[in-house]
Amino acid sequence: MKKEGWSFSIALTFCVMFAFWMLLSAWTVYLLEPYDLFKVSSRGILAALIVSFLTYEIFVPSRGENVLLKIRRLIPYIGWELWQIYLATIDVTKRVLGILPVDPRIIEFDTTLRSDFALVTFANSITLTPGTITIDIEPEKGRYIVHAIAKEPAESLTVDQTMQKKVGHVFMEE
């Protein structure tokens, strides 16, 4: 954690936490008279302040230099990921109904990802995309052990490597 970045981290965490509180409990503010607005929202401000002082180091981790750029790159990735979830379910549906074969295997491969958030995002993405589930990660080498339900999903991870490149681009760890 760089020392000069902590105020920015706290401010970002506070904004997100207060927006979250507002969305979850805004109906209590909504019902009351207008002059009570500050009285009620001050509870949210206090709670958000406590949480952001306790957790800003976790929320904005040590490689937090380009947080805003990473968030901007993450949003189209989430859209692509939702499309992949749809494809994955269609794929499993075909295998359940017997249209495509079931031929499971376990594969291992290395990636260039190192930070915790990138590793977790990629592991979740593997589980959500067609025909593959993460079994284990070795964080030092960036090595993944993956269970694939057939030959083609396994080859899309080991040969094509489109998803590794996408995650590496989002977290700038190519």
């Binding site: 979830i85 359940v96 499971p104 295997r105 269970h147």
Partner: protein
């Protein structure tokens, strides 16, 4: 009002269809790992579709936002739970079914 009813019912029906496919896969696939494929993936899309159906029915309100948060957290938690089950089975040495073996 009728159009919103029809659209949300279609979302709910599609979600229920994928949930049923997931259950059929749980019964039909040969071993533990492939069964997790069926439940882990179909449940994710099924719950997204069901919650989107509820959101369409509810319209623009604070309940819609809460439903959206439920859906977003499930996207993080669902794969993590599947992965935890997979890792426990792999660490305890459960054998992997290959093509041509007997069902387990």
């Amino acid at each position: 009002m009728l159009a919103i009813d029809v659209i949300s019912t279609m979302f709910l029906a599609a979600g229920a269809f994928f949930m049923i496919i997931g259950t059929a896969g749980l019964l039909r696939f040969p071993d533990f790992y492939t069964r997790l494929h069926a439940t882990g993936k179909c449940d994710t899309l099924g719950q997204i579709l069901i919650i989107v159906g509820c959101m369409t029915y509810e319209g623009l309100s604070f309940i819609t936002i809460k439903l959206f948060f439920v859906s977003a957290f499930y996207l993080l938690v669902g794969p993590t739970g599947t992965h935890a089950l997979m890792k426990a089975a792999y660490a305890s040495g459960l054998p992997v079914w290959r093509k041509g073996d007997k069902r387990m």
